[in-house]
């Protein structure tokens, strides 16, 4: 069964802290994505990675960085957390080879920055 896991369901951090959000998939997928979901704004793409060590900026990369050292793991880093980064963060993965469009999402991490 397909599985995408995220390191935390809920996280509370202080302004200025460095925050790491981890995502792991067990499906050998090439593509991985980080989104944030906010009421009225929907899902917005922060970064995606089409393969190991490859990354591309999405629509809202400012204030974020990512790391993909291994195929199964895609990390989102908030270098210095700010209150406007309070949000639900969703990770997804996708198999590139067969041309299918399914993205498999993790359960999300709800981050509160105080």
């Amino acid at each position: 069964d397909v599985k995408v896991t995220q390191s935390s369901r809920y996280l509370v951090k202080r302004t200025g802290e460095k925050v790491f959000l981890e995502c792991v998939q067990d499906m050998d997928h090439e593509n991985m994505f980080w989104y944030r979901q906010d009421p009225g704004l929907g899902l917005r793409l922060i970064y995606f990675s089409y393969d190991v060590k490859m990354k591309e900026k999405g629509d809202i990369p400012e204030g974020y960085s990512v790391s993909r050292e291994k195929k199964e793991r895609f990390s989102l880093i908030l270098e210095s957390a700010s209150t406007n980064q309070t949000s639900m963060y969703l990770c997804a993965s996708r198999l590139d080879r067969d041309g299918g469009e399914t993205q498999y999402f993790g359960p999300g991490t709800r981050l509160l920055v105080l």
């Binding site: 593509n31 009225g40 929907g42 793409l45 999405g58 969703l90 469009e101 993205q103 999402f105």
Partner: protein, 111 residues
């Protein structure tokens, strides 16, 4: 103007009703069209996928794409309380891995 527009709802319907959910988009290069369902406190899951124009049916669900009008729809027949969720449309063009999502429509099916 947003690339993808979706009515946020909420939409409340009685059990057994036919539900119509819609998205409009502005980018004529979009070729891949998806509908995701998201239950409360869960990640979205893919419900339907259509390539280019046309209809696709899967059980009680039908997805339609009208590229000439830049309009996509999801129909749910014989709606059930278990269909209560947020429905998100998503799309992309063939030259990118970047998916554009609508804001989602909240649906409530009343027993």
């Amino acid at each position: 103007q947003k690339e993808v527009e979706q009515d946020p709802g909420p939409l409340s319907v009685p059990e057994g009703a036919i539900v119509s959910l819609n998205c409009t988009y502005s980018n004529s290069a979009f070729q891949y069209f998806m509908w995701y369902r998201q239950y409360s406190r869960k990640g979205p899951e893919l419900l339907m996928y259509t390539y280019s124009s046309g209809n696709k049916e899967d059980g009680r669900f039908t997805a339609q794409v009208d590229k000439s009008s830049k309009y996509i729809s999801l129909f749910i027949r014989d709606s059930q309380p278990s269909d209560s969720a947020t429905y998100l449309c998503a799309m992309r063009d063939s030259g990118t891995y970047k998916y554009i999502f609508g804001t989602g429509t909240r649906l409530k099916v009343l027993a």
